[in-house]
Symmetry: C2
Subunit: 237 residues, 2 copies
């Protein structure tokens, strides 16, 4: 049997370089889209429908779905909510379907649709998704959503956290996976302190979402793994 591959794609703009049709792709947008998706699905949301544009999101207005739209870190005017994890509590989303568009995360999901399976990762479900991946025969690609296609530190760090958990599981790492795992090794004892260095963290501070950040860096809060099923994310069973 050929050795399984673990690759890390540091930006959606590099995704065309990878052949993903037989791979499991894990989409990563730590601040905050994929953290909120994981949290929402764990809290009983029936489904989350990631859509590319605010207009497509708005087209669901006549349904009983919850509509969520974020651009540049803020809730788009006229929408129920954006991508703060605190909008994805059981009280708000249990039994509901959410239609969501975000700056980076939903774009990355859309770009991954030809993969064999698209899963959603975040620190909240780190061990759950790593353990599940280990037991699958397929190659894995960890796709960092980044910020408008630029590489960012928090998504790379999470890719490194997964790589770290898969380190002795027989995968062949590409250079980006090695890089991400090393970075995580360096940062793991103080993720929040490590990320304070980034320019992104300044932007997030201006948006007054520091409590979101702290929330999104909690490790293994939940077991749920969102998986793409047609046009919607549902809980992997």
């Amino acid at each position: 049997m050929q050795q399984k591959k673990l690759e890390v794609c540091l930006s959606p703009a590099l995704l065309h370089l990878y052949d993903i049709k037989d791979s499991l792709v894990v989409v990563i947008d730590i601040f905050r889209a994929t953290s909120s998706m994981c949290y929402g699905i764990a809290n009983g949301a029936e489904a989350i429908i990631p859509v590319a544009t605010v207009d497509v999101c708005r087209s669901y207005e006549q349904t009983n779905y919850l509509l969520a739209a974020e651009r540049n870190g803020e809730v788009v005017e006229g929408f129920d909510f954006g991508n703060s994890p605190f909008s994805y509590t059981a009280e708000k989303v249990s039994g509901k379907t959410v239609v969501l568009t975000t700056t980076n995360g939903t774009h990355a999901i859309n770009e991954s649709r030809e993969a064999q399976r698209v899963l959603i990762g975040s620190f909240l479900n780190l061990s759950a998704i790593s353990n599940w991946l280990k037991n699958q025969p397929q190659d894995v690609l960890l796709l960092c959503a980044g910020w408008k296609n630029k590489v960012n530190l928090e998504d790379t760090l999470f890719a490194g956290a997964v790589a770290h958990q898969l380190q002795n599981e027989g995968y062949k790492f590409d250079d980006s996976a090695i890089l991400a795992a090393d970075l995580y090794q360096m940062a793991k004892d103080d993720l929040n302190g490590f990320l304070k260095k980034t320019s992104h963290s300044e932007r997030l501070k201006e948006l007054k979402i520091e409590s979101d950040i702290v929330f999104c860096l909690q490790v293994d809060l939940i077991d749920a793994i969102p998986v793409l099923d047609g046009d919607r994310l549902v809980r992997l069973v």
Copy 2:
């Protein structure tokens, strides 16, 4: 005065995300194109002309230029030499002009042409180029050539080495620069050992160019900085 920026672009496929027209761009292809360019210019080559294709390189046949072509790590048949630094000794290149095409490095140079200035970096001229950059007023973009547009460890490490030298010089780092500097911090005491982990290093081993690798990881062997002047790289004076 606005704070100068130091950005790292981890792949030529991400270069369109950066506005480089007022920036100094340093092109990095450690194994081996930019190492050989630095060494060749230091050894008195009059100029090195980076060209995109083997055919363009061949079109210089009727000149008295030296023709060098590398694809996938090997010298292309019919050419004087490829991109091994040992082909760029004073004995071979002093006073000569070399026309060179390589898999990754010359492509990255061509993509950078709209920058205010394009410079060539390698471990061989690390301090020379870092010290020169410090004294310029412009923003800096370190462009990693990678391997066929995928991110690689050795180019990222060198970007990190430059970032490390510019750390207390008043630059604002982007996330990729932070990431690269941290990686370098982790690897700097044993660059060769660190790079042995990479898949690229296996490929290079198959090519029997391990002595080239050791050569390219020598720090501060030379002072010369190649700079693009029209279609040719010459020594920065």
